[in-house]
């Protein structure tokens, strides 16, 4: 089983230096691309590999790049941004890649920038990742020294500058258009689409925003080809995926595995099963803003299509396990508290609706709920659903709520009937 993204990352070890990275085959993909390929060829290769965005939405990466205006009259400068904001509760996969093998990200970014002919790139890193910040600063410095960044890289005529930008908090900064506003020094509210960032992004110029894990796949696709990348997977969606499990399991962690391993394999084998005395009650398969799945879904494949068919989303593929000693109402209240707090306040349904949802859930949790409260919650899952808000934060917040009411209705009813939390 191949683990291209993490084969050189070992727990407790220092991140790979530039020297170590190059001796393990690093920067050969970049050399090859600069020497032999046109930008369009790189776009087509990545599109053919069927690499889908690892930031949550799962859009074909090569296709996204192909929307960027190319040629002599294209607006300049163009930008390439690595989204390293990783703030979805329950998600801890990009940290592994950032801290373990920073040059892999840099090489992926330089190739991606070449493919869209961007001359300026940013890594948008969340404030809390202090170690990653130190590691990336050092790596960017090394890459400039070695001539992988800067003017006329390897005499190819292609130039790229790279900057590390650390945020000042707020989940919203991870939404790609809000991220652009944050980089421009504004409040991180999202922008209307269209125009899409590919056409009019940072400072009004064509911009691509990709997740860290997405970009880390790129050098390997160049080195080994599109078919190889597809062959890594157990399913239609190509490649490997960094999966994670947290909650009351014996061995919480993150692992790179073929795309499409089952939820059962992840929880029972890699995460070592539930801790003694606990049973699995529900799972958020891909972070806080994905619908609950339950024991009956354990045999589904963890890929974009299969998880969607089961009524949820692959999201970030870092799952949170809810055990049978944890109150589902309290669990969902915690999630809604997060979303209400992180709402940027730009649009009314989200700004007003989420605090209301949070309050209703608290009332139920405290044993003061009424039967009508459930209907009120259900109404919100409609009103804050897709299409009614400016960005995906509020619809994402409704996913675990609507599915909690569906699967754990009896728990909600008991709180109301017994006028207390039964947990």
């Amino acid at each position: 089983m191949e683990r291209p993204l993490t084969k050189n990352i070992h727990a407790g070890r220092q991140p790979l230096s530039l020297k170590e990275y190059t001796t393990t085959g690093g920067y050969t993909a970049l050399q090859q691309v600069l020497k032999n390929n046109t930008p369009q060829e790189v776009q087509q290769l990545v599109q053919k590999s069927n690499l889908k965005g690892r930031g949550g939405a799962g859009f074909n990466t090569g296709m996204k790049w192909s929307f960027v205006p190319m040629g002599a009259d294209a607006p300049r400068p163009k930008y390439l941004i690595a989204n390293a904001d990783e703030m979805e509760p329950g998600t801890f996969k990009d940290r592994l890649l950032l801290e373990g093998n920073p040059h892999q990200l840099l090489e992926g970014m330089i190739i991606a920038a070449y493919a869209i002919q961007a001359n300026i790139s940013y890594i948008f890193l969340r404030w809390a990742y202090k170690k990653a910040a130190r590691v990336l600063e050092q790596s960017i410095h090394e890459a400039y020294e070695a001539g992988w960044l800067g003017q006329n890289i390897l005499g190819s005529g292609f130039s790229l500058n790279m900057h590390l930008h650390t945020g000042a908090g707020r989940y919203m900064c991870g939404e790609e258009t809000a991220l652009l506003n944050a980089l421009e020094g504004k409040r991180a509210t999202p922008r209307a689409k269209p125009p899409f960032p590919q056409v009019s992004g940072l400072f009004g110029k064509p911009t691509i925003v990709n997740n860290v894990e997405t970009l880390c796949c790129v050098p390997h696709i160049v080195n080994n080809g599109a078919e190889w990348f597809q062959s890594l997977s157990y399913s239609e969606d190509s490649g490997t995926k960094i999966y994670g499990v947290s909650g009351k399991v014996n061995n919480p962690g993150a692992w790179e595995l073929p795309m499409g391993v089952t939820m059962r394999e992840l929880i029972e084998e890699h995460a070592g099963g539930m801790k003694k005395g606990y049973r699995l009650k529900g799972v958020l398969p891909g972070g806080a803003s994905t619908d609950f799945l339950t024991e009956q879904h354990l045999d589904i494949k963890m890929d974009f299509k299969s998880v969607a068919a089961a009524g949820s989303r692959l999201g970030t593929a870092t799952m949170v396990v809810m055990d049978d000693a944890t109150c589902p109402v309290g669990f969902v209240h915690n999630l809604q508290h997060f979303f209400a707090q992180e709402s940027c306040g730009w649009c009314t349904p989200c700004r007003e609706g989420l605090p209301w949802v949070e309050k209703i859930l608290l009332t139920i949790e405290k044993g003061e709920g009424k039967q009508e409260d459930i209907e009120l919650l259900q109404m919100h899952t409609q009103l804050l659903g897709p299409g009614n808000t400016f960005c995906a934060l509020a619809p994402g917040a409704m996913e675990p709520l609507q599915s909690a009411i569906k699967y754990f209705r009896e728990d909600f009813d008991r709180h109301i009937r017994e006028q207390k939390c039964p947990y």
């Binding site: 329950g90 945020g167 020094g185 919480p252 958020l284």
Partner: protein, 154 residues
């Protein structure tokens, strides 16, 4: 008044960007690094430095939760209150901190030693519960290990 060092650092950031205003978040972080928090005077000073209005600076400052617009203690504790830490019992840690420090979320100890704040997921959910003090990450926290951690900060 901003110090020469602060102005230099802000100018350095602004030079990387197409216009000065775009450096406002960096500027806020720089001033906070030196002074611990952002008071009204700093808001005006940054506004002047970046050729924008104080209201504009404040609208940005108040958006980001890690820009402090009130004074904080010498050490800032950010305790993760998101979902994996919830499942793994961050509330017990919060209770222990409340007892030890006699403060709740949003408060500062009387001796100005600690400010305690909740923070969203710190990205180490496989080692929950987690907290950060002055940028330093602590994971797999238990009530037993809490004292040793706090002792490092005087």
């Amino acid at each position: 008044m901003l110090s020469n060092e602060e102005i230099q650092d802000i100018d350095h950031e602004a030079a990387k960007l197409p216009y000065k205003k775009a450096a406002v978040i960096e500027a806020l972080k720089i001033v906070q690094q030196h002074r611990g928090w952002i008071n009204d005077e700093s808001v005006s000073d940054i506004a002047e430095c970046l050729e924008m209005s104080a209201a504009e600076v404040d609208s940005v400052a108040t958006f980001y939760n890690l820009i402090f617009r009130s004074p904080v203690g010498r050490h800032v504790i950010l305790l993760c209150d998101s979902i994996s830490c919830y499942v793994m019992g961050y509330k017990n840690i919060y209770e222990a901190l409340q007892q030890k420090l006699k403060i709740k979320f949003g408060e500062t100890t009387a001796d100005q030693r600690f400010t305690l704040l909740p923070n969203a997921c710190l990205g180490c959910c496989d080692h929950a519960p987690a907290l950060i003090i002055n940028g330093e990450l602590y994971t797999d926290i238990s009530i037993e290990t809490l004292d040793d951690i706090l002792l490092k900060y005087t």
